[in-house]
C-alpha cells in the first residue's frame, strides 16, 4: 500500500515537475486562434507581435459607440505613443457577417492607423474571455496579458499610457 502511495506521489510530483519546468521556458502569451485579415485571409493570432515591445489589443465593433470613441481618442495620440514607447495597437473587430464587410472601409474612412483583424464568429473573443466590447488588453513584450479593462470613459487613455510606459521600460505593474 505504502509503495503504491509512494509511486502515485512520485508520479504526480514528477509530472508536475515536468510541467513546471516546461512552463518556465515557454512563452504562452495570448491563445492561438485563427482570425481574418481585412483582405479576408485566414491568419493565426500568433502573428500579433511587436518585437518585444508592448501591444494594446482592443476588441471592438463598428456598431459599438464607446469602442469607436475610444479608438478615435487613441488614434490622435497613437503617433506620439509609438514614438515614445514603440507600442503597437492591434484592434480586433467582432462584427459578424452582417457588418464584417464594412470594417475595412470603416477603419479607412476614420483614417485609423491600426493593425486590424476580424473575428466574425467570436473565436478569439471567446479564447480571451471577452464578455462585452470595448475590452482592451495590454500585452508585455512576451505577449503576456499584464492589464485589461472593459468599457471606455474619456480619460482612460491617460491611465493606459502610464501602464504602457511602465511595460515598455520593463517595470512590473504592481
Amino acid at each position: 500500500m505504502k509503495k503504491i502511495a509512494a509511486l502515485f506521489l512520485l508520479f504526480t510530483i514528477s509530472a508536475y515537475g515536468v510541467f513546471a519546468q516546461d512552463k518556465d521556458t515557454k512563452s504562452s502569451g495570448i491563445p492561438t486562434v485563427n482570425v481574418k485579415g481585412l483582405d479576408g485571409a485566414i491568419v493565426s493570432s500568433d502573428i500579433i507581435t511587436n518585437e518585444g515591445k508592448p501591444i494594446i489589443l482592443s476588441f471592438w465593433a463598428t456598431w459599438c459607440k464607446p469602442c469607436v470613441t475610444e479608438l478615435n481618442a487613441l488614434s490622435e495620440i497613437y503617433p506620439d505613443w509609438k514614438a515614445e514607447t514603440g507600442v503597437k495597437i492591434v484592434i480586433v473587430s467582432i462584427d459578424d457577417a452582417r457588418s464584417a464587410a464594412t470594417v475595412g472601409p470603416f477603419v479607412n474612412g476614420k483614417g485609423w492607423d491600426y493593425e486590424v483583424y476580424l473575428d466574425p464568429n467570436g473565436d478569439f473573443k471567446r479564447a480571451m474571455n471577452v464578455n462585452m466590447v470595448p475590452h482592451t488588453f495590454l500585452l508585455d513584450g512576451k505577449r503576456e496579458v499584464v492589464n485589461q479593462h472593459t468599457s471606455y470613459a474619456p480619460g482612460d487613455e491617460d491611465k493606459l499610457f502610464e501602464l504602457v510606459k511602465k511595460v515598455a521600460a520593463g517595470q512590473p505593474l504592481k
Binding site: K2, K3, A6, L7, L9, L10, I13, S14, A15, Y16, G17, V18, F19, A20, K23, D24, K26, S28, D39, G40, A41, I42, A61, W63, K65, T69, D96, A97, R98, S99, A101, T102, G104, P105, F106, V107, N108, G109, K110, G111, P120, N121, G122, D123, A127, N129, V130, N131, M132, H135, N147, Q148, H149, T150, S151, A153, P154, G155, D156, K159
Partner: protein, 566 residues
C-alpha cells in the same frame, strides 16, 4: 524526457535501497513540491482563464406600459466560462443559470447546468475538437453556429470537429454534431468546408497583386420522417461556393447558396401546411473600395426560401443552421431602434451602400481637427413571385426585386470636433418600415414612415471627468406618433459613470398613452470587473445587438448586472 529520467531514478532506487524508499520519496517529494510552489506560486501546470456575468432584475408591476406581473418578483440570468489551456491543448466549460429566466428570454431556459464543455488539441496541422464548438462556413449563408448571450441565442454544436491545414493557404474543416436546444439537444448535422488562398498555395502566384480565395461549404442535416401523410426528405443537403478577390484598394466577395427541398414550419403555406418542396437559393455579394480617409462598401443579397434549421418543426429563433442577417445598418441610438428590419428568410432582395469619409484636418471642410461623414442607404424588397398550385408553392426569378418594399433607410452622420474638449455628432435617419411584413402581423398593418434627428455632444470637463448628452426626436404620423428622448451621461475615468434618460411618446394619438419611460443607471468598472445598477421603465420593442433582434417586453423595476473576466 525529464519524466523518463525521473522514472529511471525511481527504478534505480528500488533496486538499490528498497528499505528507505518510502521515507526518501516522501521527503524528496515534499521538497520538490515546495520548490515548485515557491517557484510558481499560483502558476498551475496549465493556464486557467474565465469570465462571468449575472443579470438580476426586480420587477414592479406597471399596467400603464403593459409590463406583465412577475410572480417571482426577481428573475436572474447568469453564466460563467472556464478555460484551461496548456500548449496545444485547451479545454473549457460553461455553467449557465436561469432562475428564472429574465422576461424576454425563452422560458425553456429555466434551470441550471453545464451547457458547454469541450476539449481541443492541435497536433501539427490537425486540430481536433471533442464536445461543444461554434463554427461558421463562409459568411454563414448555410451554416453558422454562434452565441449571443445577451439575446438568449445559442445554437452551439456538440460532436466532433476536425480542422486540417495540410499546406499553406489550404484550410479544411469537417464536423458531425447535434445542436443545442435550450438545455437539450436536437438534430443531426454533418458539414465540411474547404478554402484555398491561391496566392499562398501556389508558388507562381505568390508575387501576384491579385489575391484570390476560393471556398465551398457543404452541410447536410438528418431528421427521420414520421409524418403519416407527407413524404418528407430525411436528409437535406445545402452547399455554398464562395470567392474573394482582392487587388490593391479593391475587394470583392461573393457567396452563392443552394438548399435542396426542405418543407418546414417556416415555409408552410395555407395550401402546403407541411411546408413547400421548393429548393432554396441565396446569394450575397459585396464590393469595397478603401484608402486612407475614404471607405466605400456596396452589398447585395438575395434570399429565396433559405431558412435552414436542424429541425423542420423549429420556429422563432430555434435551431438555426443558416445565418441571414439584415443587410441594414445596425442602429445604436435608442429611438433609431424602434423600427429595425429583420431579414425575411422566405424571400427578399436587399441592397446596402456605405460611404465613410474624413475631411482632412487643415482642409476647408476639415477645420483644425477634421470632419467625419458617414452615409448609409439600404433597402429590402420582397421577391417577384408567381404562385403555383403544386407542392413547390411558387416560382421566383433569381435576384429579381418584387414590387413590395419592406424596408428602406437613409442614414447621414456628421462628426465634428470643435476643440480638444468638445465634439458634436449629428445624425439624420429616414426609415420606411413595413410593420405587417416585418413583424408578421398581416395586411391590416401598413407601412410606417419615420424621420429621426439626433444631436450628441461630448464634452471633456477635465482630464478624467466628461459629459455626454443626446437629444433625439422621431417624427411619424403612423404607429404611436412622435417620440422625444433626452440622455445625460457623466463619467469619471477610469471607474465611474452615471446616466439618466427619458423616452417620451408625446405624440401618441391616445392621450393616456403619452407615456414617459425614464431610466437612471450607474456603474463602477475596475479592470475587467464591472457592476452596473439601474432603475426605470423599459419600453416594449425589438432589441438588436450584434446582428440579431429580439422582442423585449415592457418592464419596470431595478436591475443589477455584474461582469468579470480573468
Amino acid at each position: 524526457m525529464e519524466f523518463l529520467s525521473y522514472l529511471n531514478y525511481f527504478h534505480r532506487l528500488t533496486i538499490q535501497r528498497p528499505v528507505n524508499l518510502f521515507k526518501k520519496l516522501v521527503l524528496s517529494g515534499v521538497a520538490l513540491l515546495g520548490f515548485s510552489y515557491s517557484q510558481a506560486q499560483i502558476n498551475l501546470p496549465f493556464e486557467v482563464h474565465g469570465n462571468f456575468q449575472v443579470d438580476v432584475q426586480y420587477y414592479l408591476e406597471d399596467s400603464s406600459i403593459g409590463a406583465p406581473p412577475v410572480p417571482e418578483e426577481v428573475l436572474t440570468n447568469g453564466f460563467g466560462n472556464l478555460t484551461f489551456s496548456r500548449g496545444n491543448f485547451n479545454a473549457g466549460l460553461r455553467y449557465e443559470s436561469y432562475l428564472n429566466p429574465l422576461l424576454g428570454f425563452d422560458t425553456r431556459y429555466k434551470g441550471n447546468g453545464i451547457t458547454y464543455r469541450y476539449a481541443d488539441y492541435t497536433v501539427g496541422d490537425l486540430n481536433i475538437t471533442l464536445g461543444n464548438f461554434y463554427e461558421q462556413f463562409g459568411s454563414g449563408l448555410i451554416f453558422r453556429s454562434y452565441e449571443e448571450r445577451g439575446l438568449g441565442l445559442d445554437n452551439a454544436m456538440d460532436g466532433i470537429r476536425l480542422k486540417y491545414n495540410p499546406v499553406a493557404g489550404v484550410y479544411l474543416k469537417g464536423f458531425i454534431a447535434t445542436q443545442r436546444y435550450y438545455f437539450d439537444e436536437a438534430g443531426l448535422v454533418r458539414g465540411a468546408d474547404g478554402e484555398i488562398a491561391l496566392s499562398e498555395a501556389f508558388e507562381g502566384l505568390k508575387s501576384s497583386k491579385t489575391l484570390i480565395t476560393l471556398g465551398t461549404a457543404v452541410v447536410s442535416k438528418f431528421q427521420s420522417d414520421d409524418d403519416p401523410i407527407y413524404k418528407l426528405p430525411e436528409n437535406v443537403l445545402a452547399f455554398a461556393p464562395r470567392i474573394r478577390i482582392n487587388r490593391g484598394n479593391f475587394g470583392l466577395y461573393s457567396e452563392y447558396a443552394y438548399k435542396y427541398n426542405d418543407p418546414s414550419a417556416i415555409n408552410a403555406t395555407a395550401e402546403n401546411p407541411g411546408g413547400i418542396y421548393k429548393p432554396g437559393q441565396g446569394m450575397y455579394i459585396n464590393t469595397t473600395y478603401s484608402r486612407k480617409g475614404l471607405g466605400v462598401s456596396l452589398s447585395g443579397k438575395f434570399i429565396d426560401n433559405m431558412s435552414y434549421r436542424s429541425d423542420r418543426a423549429a420556429v422563432s429563433n430555434d435551431l438555426h443552421l443558416s445565418y441571414l442577417p439584415a443587410l441594414t445598418k445596425q442602429q445604436t441610438y435608442r429611438l433609431a431602434t424602434l423600427y429595425p428590419y429583420a431579414s425575411q428568410p422566405n424571400g427578399e432582395v436587399g441592397y446596402q451602400a456605405d460611404i465613410f469619409y474624413n475631411f482632412k484636418p487643415g482642409s476647408k471642410l476639415g477645420g483644425k481637427y477634421g470632419t467625419y461623414i458617414a452615409l448609409n442607404y439600404s433597402r429590402a424588397n420582397g421577391l417577384d413571385t408567381t404562385r403555383t398550385n403544386d407542392e413547390l408553392g411558387y416560382e421566383s426569378k433569381f435576384f429579381k426585386m418584387g414590387p413590395d418594399k419592406y424596408f428602406e433607410e437613409v442614414n447621414v452622420e456628421f462628426q465634428k470636433k470643435v476643440n480638444k474638449d468638445l465634439k458634436f455628432l449629428v445624425t439624420y435617419i429616414y426609415t420606411l418600415y413595413d410593420e405587417g411584413v416585418i413583424k408578421a402581423l398581416g395586411d391590416k398593418y401598413g407601412k410606417i414612415y419615420a424621420n429621426i434627428g439626433i444631436l450628441e455632444m461630448q464634452y471633456k470637463i477635465s482630464k478624467t471627468h466628461s459629459m455626454r448628452a443626446e437629444v433625439q426626436h422621431l417624427y411619424t404620423e403612423q404607429d404611436k406618433g412622435n417620440w422625444a428622448m433626452l440622455l445625460l451621461e457623466y463619467t469619471i475615468s477610469p471607474h465611474w459613470f452615471v446616466a439618466a434618460f427619458d423616452e417620451y411618446n408625446y405624440g401618441n394619438e391616445i392621450k393616456e398613452n403619452r407615456l414617459h419611460y425614464p431610466n437612471i443607471s450607474m456603474g463602477y468598472t475596475k479592470g475587467a470587473n464591472r457592476i452596473t445598477m439601474g432603475y426605470g421603465k423599459q419600453r416594449e420593442g425589438l432589441l438588436c445587438v450584434g446582428g440579431v433582434c429580439r422582442q423585449v417586453p415592457a418592464s419596470n423595476g431595478f436591475s443589477l448586472s455584474v461582469t468579470s473576466s480573468f
